[in-house]
């Protein structure tokens, strides 16, 4: 029996498969396809202090091997999420990760501390890397000093483990990771989307109303694997890896690169059953490559 369980700060995962923030809503829609109790955890759509309506549409566009999105953090606000979404997810036997975002350090702190009052959320994911909002978001994610400051402030305000979600839009991802590690991060999530743009020829306008959007999907997988490998060599906190995962084989590649668990985003749009199917396939794939547990595969790439 292949052991899929893995223990991360605050997250006793039955398996390493987690739907990625923003690609799974608050779980409701996917609960009609399979029992969410099957999942290692669920990461909720980003929460901000107040209701946000997000960017104008169109908000998504297809690219070769991937897609762009500029949703713009649309969400009902942290209070409503705690009132109506968290209780729904808490019915399932799975961990809940709250993805939090803000336009200022203070907003991050207020959103984080609001989650203190619920005992149904297991960890926070600090989204300092959303490329799709005008203020906040990505600035925190591209400057190591700013990233450390917001991490430290949120750690102080929260009683939950904090995973910092890193942006790949940086020159030195290792510097970012080290900076938030020393600021007290319990873990890292990486990577968020890469800023991109596409122009529609007939109208000469960007295919996304917001001009630029975040690139996700298999196209970015090699970039994710490289960054996770580099970071895992230099930090001691665990990594939740993501970026283009579509199969259980991809999951193993992320584990070998140094991730301890993975998140699955874009693939949910092609196949709403994807997380469930990967959980079914993972033991077979692990075994066929000689691993008897997830834990055993973490960081086992031979990268001399």
């Amino acid at each position: 029996m292949t052991n899929l369980a893995i223990e991360l700060p605050g997250l006793a995962l039955k398996n390493p498969i987690i739907p990625a923030s923003g690609c799974f809503g608050f779980g409701r829609e996917f609960s009609q396809f399979y029992d969410l109790s099957k999942l290692g955890a669920v990461t909720m759509k980003a929460a901000t202090e107040n209701t946000r309506f997000g960017n104008p549409t169109p908000r998504v566009a297809e690219t070769t091997g991937g897609m762009l999105n500029a949703i713009g953090l649309q969400n009902p606000g942290v209070t409503k999420i705690i009132e109506t979404e968290v209780p729904f997810l808490a019915e399932f036997d799975t961990c809940i990760i709250a993805n939090i975002a803000g336009s200022s350090l203070e907003e991050y702190v207020r959103v984080a501390s609001t989650f203190n009052n619920t005992n149904q959320v297991h960890a926070l994911e600090l989204n300092i890397s959303c490329p799709n909002v005008k203020e906040g978001g990505i600035q925190f994610g591209t400057d190591p000093v700013m990233a450390a400051r917001v991490t430290e402030a949120v750690k102080k305000a929260s009683n939950l483990p904090v995973y910092v979600k890193l942006s790949p839009n940086v020159t030195d991802i290792v510097a970012m990771a080290k900076s938030v590690e020393s600021a007290g991060a319990d873990g890292l999530s990486m990577i968020n989307t890469i800023t991109g743009m596409q122009i529609h020829l007939p109208t000469r306008r960007p295919l996304i109303a917001n001009k630029t959007g975040g690139l996700s999907g298999p196209a970015i997988k090699p970039i994710a694997i490289r960054m996770i490998y580099e970071v895992s060599q230099q930090v001691d906190i665990p990594i939740i890896g993501m970026g283009g995962i579509q199969t259980a084989e991809d999951v193993l590649e992320f584990l070998l690169a140094g991730a301890s668990a993975v998140a699955i985003g874009t693939a949910n749009f092609q196949n709403p059953y994807i997380c469930s199917e990967i959980i079914d396939n993972l033991p077979i794939v692990l075994e066929s490559y000689g691993f008897s547990s997830v834990q055993e595969a973490v960081g086992k790439g031979i990268i001399a």
Binding site: R28, Q32, F33, T57, P58, R59, T63, N69, F269, P272
Partner: protein, 251 residues
């Protein structure tokens, strides 16, 4: 009940310029689909599924018909599939047109271009339930016209083309004055058409079906939202729509 099904293609026909009729066999989706709902279709090597309306459905034979226009790479690839091939589909999605079956009434259908398809299944269903159907269908040019016979079988029909190369010259709103009295209208088509139509028919009871580029198609990703009329809230086209009461949303 949304399902992910491999639907088998029974037939494929070119019915107008770049316009394809494709008939599938699938017991499950054909059983549940109602007029106005759509399918989310996966074509090989594309990241995102393509939303396509259900143009007809037969529970007895378990068949589903779609009509689509070759627009970009995805629909081009879809048009290249052959009878016998299986197509990965998520459906039926969204809320259909509300069908008031209690009082027999007269219904106006207004379709523009590739917005025509869902209205056929709607018209057929309404007629079966005893309604009188009047249809106005607008197309760019003669070569784009399709389903004339099918709609004229439903009742009174006006076809308009932008350049007058077939039927009346002009846009759908130009013939509104010609049509007999009706109780409510249902419309699907390009946004400018829907804007003009709902403005002109302000106060009339009406339903419109909207399009937006989609990610998930099931309400999870917030790609396809639009504001409600009051601007204080929003709706998801894929889940709350694609059909809305004309006074419900801001287009």
């Amino acid at each position: 009940m949304i399902k992910r099904e491999k639907m088998q293609i029974l037939s494929k026909t070119v019915i107008a310029l770049d316009t394809i009729k494709m008939v599938f066999h699938n017991e499950s989706i054909s059983k549940y689909a109602i007029p106005g709902q759509f399918l989310h279709i996966q074509v090989e090597n594309h990241t995102l599924r393509r939303p396509i309306s259900i143009a007809n459905c037969d529970q007895d034979t378990g068949t589903i018909t779609i009509l689509f226009k070759i627009n970009g790479d995805g629909t081009k690839r879809l048009a290249a599939y052959e009878p016998g091939d299986l197509v990965d589909t998520l459906g039926p999605l969204g809320n259909g047109f509300p069908i008031d079956t209690d009082t027999p009434s007269t219904i106006l259908l207004v379709g523009g271009g590739i917005g025509v398809p869902p209205l056929y299944y709607l018209g057929k269903t309404l007629k079966e339930k005893g309604a009188t159907i009047i249809s106005i269908l607008g197309f760019q040019q003669k070569e784009h016209v399709f389903y004339e016979q099918e709609f004229s079988n439903l009742g009174e029909l006006y076809i308009v083309t932008d350049d007058g190369s077939y039927g009346h010259k002009g846009v759908v709103t130009d013939v509104l004055s010609k049509v007999s009295a009706y109780d409510s209208y249902y419309s699907c088509g390009p946004l400018p058409m829907l804007k003009a139509l709902t403005a002109k028919l302000e106060g009339k009871k009406g339903y419109i079906s909207l399009e937006e580029r989609m990610g998930c198609g099931i309400g999870a990703c917030f790609a396809c939202v639009l504001p409600t009329k009051d601007g204080n809230s929003y709706k998801k086209i894929c889940k709350d729509g694609p059909v809305f009461a004309s006074e419900e949303v801001r287009i």
